[in-house]
């Protein structure tokens, strides 16, 4: 398992959840239409700037979603996919569920950001079901987002609580989508997936060699952008 060293960017320390959210936000191209998954991905919205002019989609039927509603703003008819009350920005629109998912499935969203249990070297995603005996499966819109968005960004810690890598040769959890992930943002590194396998764009608080010790698939540095 050889590591090709190169001059990729690194930082002093692993990224906090907020730092990671800030990084993802910075990487979203101006004018994009974006769906942020429930949980950690939702943090990204805190770091989007007005200049970026990002339009947020929520799969329960809205484009132009604003920040979480507070106090008097709370309206039970205006919630996001996580069922949290949100607000409406100027230029918003509402539509029914089939139109909303047609938007996702028809390839119109530029980016969706999702959490994950595992991502494989070929970009397979597992994020909906542990497959444990007795676990009640629930999928929501995860498969539609994973399959439909132009780019699928994953945000997760690199390691499980037990220290196992979530970047794997082949997913052991049930799949959400096949070959759909384009980037993986973790606390220790940003990975790019593509036809040439998985590459490392930058590392946080570790060298590529140290990262390779943690990840059971061959890593190489991404070609400079």
């Amino acid at each position: 398992m050889g590591v090709m060293e190169s001059s990729i960017k690194t930082s002093e320390a692993p990224l906090s959840r907020d730092d990671l959210a800030r990084l993802v936000a910075r990487d979203i191209a101006p004018g994009s239409f974006v769906n942020l998954g429930i949980g950690q991905p939702t943090l990204v919205s805190n770091y989007l700037t007005e200049d970026q002019d990002i339009t947020l989609h929520t799969e329960n039927g809205m484009l132009g979603m604003g920040p979480e509603a507070k106090g008097d703003e709370i309206d039970e008819d205006l919630i996001n996919a996580g069922k949290i009350p949100v607000t409406e920005l100027p230029g918003a629109s509402y539509f029914h569920h089939a139109d909303s998912f047609a938007m996702m499935r028809g390839g119109h969203l530029d980016i969706c950001v999702l959490g994950a249990f595992q991502v494989s070297v070929t970009g397979d995603l597992a994020n909906w079901h542990t497959g444990a005996p007795g676990a009640i499966p629930a999928v929501g819109g995860a498969m539609d987002l994973a399959t439909g968005a132009k780019d699928v960004f994953v945000m997760m810690t690199l390691l499980t609580r037990e220290g196992a890598s979530k970047i794997v040769e082949s997913c052991t959890y049930p799949l959400t989508g096949v070959g759909c992930v384009t980037r993986v943002y973790t606390d220790k590194a940003v990975f790019l997936t593509g036809p040439g396998g998985i590459t490392v764009r930058e590392t946080f608080g570790c060298t590529l060699e140290e990262l390779q010790e943690l990840v059971p698939v061959p890593l190489k540095a991404a070609a400079a952008a």
Partner: protein, 237 residues
């Protein structure tokens, strides 16, 4: 034929044992709680219910499930922090679950209303939710064959109806309402307000009256936003 009725009890009185019932709503937004309560009261059983979830807390659909009226759930997200009634029935083997990705759920409901016999979609390809289903490669992408979901009855909630049964909704409470109205043989709508025919701008009608059979006015409860907003859908962080 379109009917305006005086009570939710009257609205649901024709629902028979063994029916497939679609119930609108995502979270509390658009949930026709009063119609669901009336369905509980009317005693219909052996139901197949189509909803995004499988009930929450101790209200609405969760109570229908608790009382053993639901033989089968077709939904995308049954497991929530407060879906204890479904969880118990499921673990006891007393309820059948057809788990459907949310976009397939929406598109299959839409297909029923639109007279489509089935369609291919990339969603779910290569996953356990496509096991046993027909697949084919179209333009280089694996796709799964999905079939329409028809219903005997739809219970939905809208903001306003006019005298022709035309409906408008409010914000994200629109969600499944329009497609369920089209997919069911008989659509029952609870609205906050009934307005004269001609009062809705024809450009802004969301559900044309052709899809509506029974309308009942249920005034919006003042301040019922309290407790309605517990975020309970949990995904991986």
């Amino acid at each position: 034929m379109l009917n305006f009725v005086e009570s939710v009890q009257e609205a649901v009185s024709g629902i028979k044992d063994g029916s497939t019932v679609m119930i609108g709503g995502f979270g509390n937004a658009g949930q026709p709680f009063e119609l669901i309560d009336a369905l509980l009261d009317c005693g219909a059983k052996d139901l197949t219910v189509v909803n995004n979830n499988a009930g929450q807390g101790d209200q609405g659909l969760a109570l229908l499930i608790k009382e053993g009226r639901v033989r089968k759930m077709i939904c995308s997200f049954p497991r929530q922090s407060d879906s204890w009634h479904f969880d118990a029935k499921y673990k006891a083997g007393q309820i059948e679950l057809e788990l459907v990705p949310q976009g397939n759920l929406a598109e299959r409901i839409r297909a029923a209303g639109a007279g489509i016999g089935g369609f291919f979609t990339p969603t779910g390809y290569g996953t356990m939710l496509a096991e046993g289903k027909e697949t084919r490669i179209i333009d280089g992408r694996g796709q799964v064959f999905e079939t329409p979901i028809h219903a005997d009855v739809a219970l939905i909630k809208a903001l306003k109806a006019d005298g022709k049964g035309n409906l408008v909704y409010r914000k994200t409470a629109r969600n499944f309402g329009p497609i369920m109205a089209a997919a069911a043989k008989h659509t029952i709508v609870q609205v906050s307000e009934i307005v004269p025919t001609g009062a809705l701008d024809p450009e802004n009608v969301v559900t044309p009256g052709i899809y509506v059979n029974t309308v009942v006015r249920v005034p919006a409860a003042a301040g019922n936003t309290a407790g309605s907003t517990t975020g309970t859908e949990e995904k991986v962080a």
